[in-house]
């Protein structure tokens, strides 16, 4: 009887270990896949707005050209005047004074918005997209404040508004398809793939045409790295891309937030000790020498 119970327990233990191993192994295998990224080549962009149209079509937004991100414009093509003429790769001298490039959520590797959101409505998925669950959102707009790229948009005209931003076509990605904008680009200005491969491709283009490309990849280190990367033949600051710190932004708040448990324990102990100490010290002088009990039991 005793032996069989031990055997039973052994089998049970081995079984649960096995289950634990299998269930732990599956997400680990999925996590090994590197996150995806879009590489945007500003030198190749011809400003046709096919990406913008495809995005609006896929999400059922009203068609038309947008001049800024919006609740129903998760991406748009920015037309940027530049200060120093650089002949365009394909459009030549005619477009030497301006560049066009696609703007959308940068899908940071460590997103400020996702760390800021009090209800975890914004999340970084392992495959790359930063997704938004409108059902959780309370509309506090801290994500908008936190985002270093000023991407999240808010429906200011709605009585019960929610946040809106590009989700990198997370549903299409899950089906094994590319984002709609990438699939629509006729100029090969948009490339989609694993982030390390996109970084390698960006470096290759810069190395192959050193005279043409700016020797930097926007998004490699910005805000700790993003899943949208830009290469360009015009300096990024001239294009109006914001200068952003290199360190992941969640680290800035975590340095303070991480001290909360220590503050609770330390302050709790300190205040309790202080309370006990000052109660003992104060009472005799206060009660005129008679150490009355705190809740006063009368004889």
């Amino acid at each position: 009887m005793r032996l069989t119970r031990r055997q039973f327990l052994q089998v049970l233990g081995a079984g649960s270990l096995g289950v634990a191993y299998l269930s732990a192994a599956r997400p680990a295998a999925a996590g090994r896949l590197p996150p995806s990224a879009i590489l945007i080549d500003i030198a190749r962009c011809i400003g046709c707005r096919s990406c913008e149209a495809a995005c609006k079509d896929v999400h059922g937004f009203p068609p038309g050209e947008s001049s800024d991100l919006g609740v129903r414009a998760w991406t748009y093509v920015r037309v940027q005047r530049i200060s120093r003429p650089v002949p365009h790769l394909t459009l030549g001298e005619a477009s030497a004074m301006q560049r066009t490039y696609k703007v959308q959520c940068m899908h940071c590797v460590e997103p400020a918005c996702a760390s800021a959101c009090p209800v975890a409505a914004l999340r970084k998925t392992p495959s790359g997209p930063v997704t938004y669950d409108a059902g959780r959102c309370i509309g506090c707009r801290y994500c908008m404040l936190a985002c270093p790229f000023q991407v999240p948009r808010f429906d200011w005209q709605s009585p019960l508004p929610i946040i809106a931003k590009c989700d990198l076509c997370a549903e299409r990605l899950a089906r094994g398809e590319r984002p709609a904008c990438v699939a629509a680009c006729p100029a090969e200005a948009l490339t989609f793939g694993p982030r390390p491969a996109m970084l390698a491709e960006a470096a290759r283009r810069i190395a192959e045409r050193p005279g043409r490309y700016v020797r930097a990849i926007y998004g490699q280190d910005e805000a700790g790295g993003t899943s949208v990367l830009y290469v360009s033949d015009v300096p990024f600051e001239d294009l109006g891309l914001p200068a952003v710190v290199r360190e992941p932004l969640p680290a800035y708040t975590w340095r303070a937030l991480g001290k909360v448990p220590a503050v609770i324990v330390g302050l709790g102990a300190m205040l309790s000790a202080l309370e006990a100490f000052s109660r003992r010290r104060r009472r005799p002088e206060r009660e005129g020498g008679s150490p009355a009990r705190p809740r006063g039991v009368q004889p």
């Binding site: 919006g70 400020a112 760390s115 800021a116 959101c117 009090p118 209800v119 975890a120 409505a121 959102c137 309370i138 509309g139 506090c140 707009r141 801290y142 908008m144 404040l145 936190a146 270093p148 000023q150 999240p152 948009r153 808010f154 429906d155 200011w156 005209q157 009585p159 019960l160 508004p161 929610i162 914001p242 200068a243 710190v245 932004l249 969640p250 800035y252 708040t253 340095r255 303070a256 937030l257 909360v260 503050v263 609770i264 302050l267 709790g268 205040l271 309790s272 202080l274 309370e275 000052s278 109660r279 010290r281 104060r282 009472r283 206060r286 009355a292 809740r295 006063g296 039991v297 009368q298």
Partner: protein
């Protein structure tokens, strides 16, 4: 006579402003935040977050400051200041929650933070602390209600629970007062360097401590004038010393931080930010320090009131600079609050004042002003023809932490109050 009678013009004005705010709130729920505010995608937080929420929480810090002084440091002579501080604290947090009901996109989901956790979010921590601390304040405030209703058994129970409750309240306050500063740690590229600092949480906490005590002073002086109460002047003068000490530490850390980060030169630049920074320093820091340092000014009611008001003004300026003016330049947006935003803010303040008046008239908020032990240097405001303060009498044990007495208000029929006090006394004696 004073301006707080039930049908006084001042009170009518408060009701008018509050109802005006209500009308704007209705418009917000019908047509969205864009229809009432000048907030935008590039400037998502404005006056409401800056004043109603950040200043609201800071100015309500008197509750935990006084609770710590009375129940943790056991400086029992400050007891007369405690209950008014807790009333304003409790009201302040309720007003913050009301402001959130207007500002949040989906206010009916405010409970989401309780069940949908993100421990990496400062906002999540603030939400939990504010909610729990409002509960603590409600329990502390509940004592006045229990005294009023004469439920002594429950009252004794709350006295037993008070010391741990106060410790919890101080911890929660320390956390969220500082965390309101931590909220802005995530915008290193957006907040002007005169305000952005990794010391923001420390600075927010220190300034909350100082402004908590300053608000208690302002409130004591204002209510003395409004209700014709005598003023606990020696007590307030001593509290002024505390305010001085905390404010001095705050100012030292603030200046040292700006100097250590090498951005002191920005303070003398011809910019709006520099002017506001200097205003903050002089109005909210140096001027009240000078006033409080002089014993003659510190021991006079107008001097104390002026110094405390300057501290309050300085902290309001600081919170607005962090949330609004310090964020403007980098946002690339223009933001001046709309008149409807201002009206909502004014309405919330008006609602707070009306609620405070109601509470003071119906609950035992003010303890006795003059005790045998305390020096009786009290001022009697003009217009009040020397109504005698009731003599303080030692009560039979168990002695409530805040001895009740009849509120000194003309509106309340004296007989009713006395009957009430008698019933409470009887209850205490029976217990």
């Amino acid at each position: 006579m004073t301006g707080v009678r039930h049908a006084s013009p001042a009170r009518a004005l408060l009701w008018l402003v509050a109802l005006g705010g209500l009308a704007v709130a209705v418009r917000r729920y019908l047509y969205g935040l864009g229809a009432v505010s000048h907030l935008s995608d590039r400037f998502p937080w404005g006056l409401w977050v800056g004043f109603d929420i950040l200043c609201g929480v800071a100015l309500a810090a008197g509750g935990f400051t006084m609770a710590a002084i009375v129940h943790i440091l056991h400086l029992k002579r400050y007891e007369p200041l405690l209950r008014p501080a807790i009333v304003t604290g409790f009201l302040g947090y309720l007003l913050v929650i009301i402001a959130l009901m207007v500002d949040l996109g989906r206010p009916y989901r405010i409970w989401h933070a309780l069940v949908m956790w993100n421990p990496h979010s400062v906002m999540f921590e603030v939400a939990w602390c504010v909610m729990l601390y409002t509960l603590v304040l409600a329990l502390e405030f509940g004592q006045s209600v229990l005294e009023r209703t004469g439920r002594t058994a429950l009252l004794r129970l709350t006295h037993l629970a008070l010391p741990p409750l106060v410790v919890v309240g101080v911890i929660l306050s320390t956390l969220h007062q500082s965390s309101l500063g931590s909220l802005f740690l995530i915008v290193p590229g957006k907040l002007h360097p005169l305000w952005y600092s990794s010391w923001l949480p420390v600075l927010f906490f220190l300034s909350a401590l100082a402004v908590g005590m300053a608000m208690v002073t302002v409130e004591a002086v204002a209510s003395a004038r409004a209700f014709g109460r005598t003023l606990e002047l020696p007590l307030l003068a001593d509290l002024g010393k505390g305010t001085f000490a905390v404010l001095a530490v705050y100012l030292a850390v603030r200046v040292a931080d700006v100097v250590a980060r090498g951005v002191w030169v920005l303070a003398s630049a011809p910019t709006l930010e520099a002017a506001l920074f200097r205003a903050e320093l002089w109005i909210g820091g140096i001027a009240p320090l000078v006033l409080l340092a002089a014993p003659r000014i510190r021991r006079s009611a107008p001097g104390l009131a002026a110094a405390a008001s300057l501290v309050v003004l300085g902290v309001v300026l600081n919170r607005l600079n962090v949330t609004v003016t310090g964020m403007l330049a980098a946002s690339g947006a223009r933001y001046v609050p709309s008149w409807m935003e201002v009206l909502i803010t004014a309405a919330i303040v008006a609602a707070g004042l009306l609620a405070y008046l109601w509470i003071v008239e119906h609950l035992p908020v003010f303890g006795e002003e003059a005790r045998p032990g305390a020096p009786a240097a009290a001022i009697v405001p003009a217009g009040r023809s020397g109504a005698p303060a009731p003599p303080w009498q030692p009560r039979p044990a168990p002695r409530p932490l805040w001895p009740t007495k009849e509120p000194m208000l003309e509106e309340v029929p004296a007989g009713a109050v006395e009957r009430e006090a008698e019933s409470v006394d009887r209850g205490l004696r029976d217990a």
